[in-house]
Structure formats: C-alpha cells, structure tokens
C-alpha cells in the first residue's frame, strides 16, 4: 500500500510517500526555520501564507522523487492536530483536495501518533507499547495496549523538555539549537551542582519549568556573589536532572505495567547522547522489554511518520469525509 502523508502542524511543511510502512519513496520537508543567531533563537515563519506557498511544491516534489503519480497513491493521510490552527488548515485543505480530486481515501492522523509509529520504519511494534515522545513541543509517556489505542500516562505540566534545553542554552549564551550544544558541553563536565528537583502531582507527569528557573537563579547568584562556575559542570547538572526526571517516570511505568513488551522513543530530543546511554542502561534492567531508539531521520517533524500512521489508521478503518477540519487541540484517542 502506498500512502501520501502531509504534515503542517507548526514550523514545517512536509510531504512524504511511504510504501507498506517501511519504505520511504520520498520525503520532502520545507523548513520554515530561518536561523537568526543574533536573537539566540529561531524565527519561525509560522504564518499560514508560507505553508500555502510551500505545499504545492512539496506535493509535486514528493511525487516526482517517488516516481509516482497520484494514480499510484492508495490513501492520503494528514495531520489533523494538535498544532497551530492556521498551519494545520493548509495541510488539511491540501489533503482534502487531493483525496477528492483523485477519489482516494482520506485519513486524519494525530501528530503524536505519527512520532510513535515512526518506529515502524525500523521495527515491528510489539504491544503493549510504552512510547516516550520528547521534542521541542512534546514530552509525553503514552501507553498503547494495541495498535489503535492511546493512553497518556504522563505529560509535562509546564515546559516541553526540548524547550527547557533551548531556554537554558539561551541563559548560558550557547546559541541555538540548545539541545546539541548542552549535550556536547555536558559531556565535558560533571553533574556537581545541586539544582531544584522537579515536582509534579501526577505519578508519571513531568515538569521542567522549575529546573530551568533553578539554572537561571544559580547563574544570577554566582554573578551576585562574584563567584565563577564551570559551564560544563552546570550543563551536566542540568542535563542529568532533566533526564533523571524522564527516566524516573519511565521506570515507574515499567514497574507498574508489567505487561509492556516494547519501549519506543520519538521526537527530536531522542538524538541526545546521554538519553541514548540511559536507554542502554535501562535495557539491562528490563531484559524482558524490547527497546527501540530509531535513527534521527525518523525522530524530527516530517511527513513519513504521518504516512505510516495513516496506513495503520486506514487499516483500522479510519476515514474522513469532506467535512474534515483541523483541530488545534485534538486529543489523542
């Protein structure tokens, strides 16, 4: 089965064509991100206008590179939500137009489900699955008893982990993107500074806002007292505390849900070297669970994952009609 997937939930306009969930025939990402280092961050061109400019080109390129025509496509999948409403609308309208012009089934997909199913590119998911999705906009622990049911066991109560990395990198004047910079610096230091341990109400929930503030207060205090500190040690201390927050919760779930067969990761933060190392350690502690950390190309926002999730949703019977609309706050179900 060949599925054309469209993703436009935030910064990227992306179109991909994937065969049988495993073979990427083409994957086009038009990144809206224009790096402005003078601001220590990026200025995303999230205006729908930019997505409108990109979408037709992305569809055309995806078909061309896959050596396909719309006749070869069996279904059109699209991110329905969550995301920024104006951006989502562009992808949904494009998908609806293609589906109805070429009489193809239309399948709505949840962005988070896409990140989880991206693992299908490198493995076959064995249910029940525990998925950890960590990125600039997501920090969730999702339990899936089968292929089509999602239960959010834990989520961030404030900042996403990738966002905390970026903001801490800004405090430390490391520039953008913050994740890889802190990861590299941390590898040269030791977690010797005591930072505020995150506090949450839910047993499996995350919190990173207090930790971010704690780094900021630490820097301010040292400056006030005119005392120096080691940047690498501070980066290591932050990273260790942030990842312990994640892994304490992952372990709590694995201990409580004995039926979990497969642990998978999704989202851009899974590129973090320390996170990967901690997963290797976890493997030894839970020998009965399969652990999968997909290659980076599967982790960031792209449309492969939407095409794959689309095929799974299609096979489970999910269809949308011409009344399909984007839903910025769509809850996974």
């Amino acid at each position: 089965m060949i599925v054309l997937g469209i993703e436009s939930s935030c910064d990227e306009t992306a179109v991909a064509i994937v065969k049988d969930k495993k073979e990427i025939l083409s994957s086009i990402v038009a990144s809206q991100i224009d790096v402005h280092t003078e601001f220590g961050g990026v200025v995303p061109e999230v205006a729908s206008r930019i997505h409108v400019e990109n979408i037709s080109y992305c569809i055309e390129q995806a078909l061309q590179q896959a050596h396909c025509t719309m006749e070869d496509i069996d279904a059109v999948a699209v991110t329905k939500g969550p995301g920024l409403i104006g951006c989502l609308h562009v992808g949904v309208q494009a998908a609806k137009t293609l589906a109805f012009a070429y009489h193809k089934p239309l399948v709505p997909v949840h962005h988070l489900a896409g990140h989880i199913y991206a693992n299908e590119l490198v493995t076959d998911l064995k249910f029940p699955v525990l998925a950890l999705v960590v990125s600039g906009g997501n920090s969730e622990l999702v339990y899936m008893k089968d292929e089509i049911s999602f239960e959010i066991l834990g989520q961030t109560q404030d900042d996403a982990i990738g966002e905390a990395y970026d903001k801490v990198a800004r405090v430390l004047h490391l520039g953008y993107p913050g994740g890889p910079k802190i990861d590299k610096l941390a590898s040269e230091g030791k977690p010797v500074y005591a930072l505020a341990k995150p506090k949450t109400q839910g047993k499996y929930d995350f919190s990173f806002s207090g930790l971010k503030s704690s780094v900021l207060q630490f820097v301010k205090r040292q400056e006030r007292l005119n005392q120096s500190y080691d940047m690498a040690d501070l980066a290591a201390s932050f990273q260790e505390t942030a990842l312990n927050e994640i892994f304490d919760k992952v372990k709590a779930v694995l201990n409580d849900y004995k039926d979990i067969k497969h642990f998978v990761v999704g989202g851009g933060v899974s590129a973090n070297s320390c996170l990967r190392k901690k997963i290797e350690e976890l493997k030894l502690q839970y020998p009965d669970v399969i652990f999968t950390v997909p290659p980076m190309s599967c982790c960031t926002d792209n449309a492969n994952m939407i095409a794959i999730a689309g095929q799974i949703a299609y096979e489970s019977g999910r269809r949308a009609g011409e009344d399909l609309t984007a839903d910025s706050g769509w809850e996974i179900q």
Binding site: V42, V43, L84, G86, G137, T156, D158, A160, E163
Partner: protein, 150 residues
C-alpha cells in the same frame, strides 16, 4: 496597582482573584516577566480558577494553545517568545475578539494587541518574593481593576 507576593501559594491566590474579576468578560491580559518569574504558575492558576479542565502547559512551541473555560468561552494562551525579531500576521485578532486571552512576551506582537488590555508584570525578588504590577489601558481593564478592589 502593586501587589507584593511572598510565596508560590500567594501567586496562585492572586491569579484566582484576578480570575474571579474577569470571569465571563472578554479581555486580553499581557503577562510580562523574566524566565522563571512565575508566568506559567500564574496562567495555570488562572485557568484552573476559570474552570479549565485540561492540563495547561507551555505554548512556546506551538505559539498558541486554546482551552475551554467552565462557561464554554475560550481561554487562549499565546506565547510570542519565538516571534522575536519577526513581523508576521498569525491572525491573533480572532483570539483577541473572544473570551480571555493571556499573552506572554507580548512585546514581540505589540502592534497587533488591542488597545484595552490588562497589563500584568511580575518582577522577581529573592526566593519566592515577587512584585506584581497591574495596569489598565482602557475602560474594560479599568473596570476589572475596580472589581479587584471591591
């Protein structure tokens, strides 16, 4: 108006009191303060007091997150942090025209904000001490401030 806060708990109490004054109204609140000043704490407590059931977490990545208040009206939470140095029309006026809208890092979309708004800025002191300044810029925000004192 200046409110002195000495603990996290008092920040939450302040947010609940603001919520009781804006319930059922249509208003834009700009929320200023450094990283760690307590903008997230304030917004979460405000949302809770307005009857929002789902988790209110950071809108930094998606820039806008929308929730439903107990009375069915929307609570929009905008974070313009990532829009620094750009001028884009993201259609925020649709949000400003309905329910309650909390805007963080509003200086980056200054030109799009409505004239009448409640300006709240949180200044960090030592530990959990905060100085909160509230200003009104029009008749609706003025009446909200008067309610606060009643």
């Amino acid at each position: 108006m200046i409110v002195d806060i000495h603990s996290l708990e008092e920040t939450k109490e302040f947010a609940s009191k603001v919520a009781s004054c804006i319930k059922g109204k249509q208003i834009v609140i700009t929320l200023d303060g450094d990283l760690g000043a307590g903008k997230t704490t304030f917004t979460k407590a405000l949302g809770k007091a307005l009857g929002v059931k789902s988790v209110i977490n950071s809108p930094t990545f998606t820039i806008l997150k929308s929730y439903k208040q107990e009375n069915g009206e929307p609570l929009h939470h905008i974070d313009a942090y990532r829009l620094e140095g750009s001028s884009q029309d993201l259609g925020f006026e649709d949000c400003f025209d309905e329910g309650i809208c909390v805007v963080e890092w509003s200086q980056f979309i200054e030109d799009q904000l409505p004239e009448d708004r409640l300006k709240i800025s949180i200044e960090e002191g030592l530990d959990e001490n905060r100085k909160i300044t509230v200003e009104s810029t029009g008749p609706v925000s003025q009446s909200i401030m008067e309610d606060y004192y009643d």
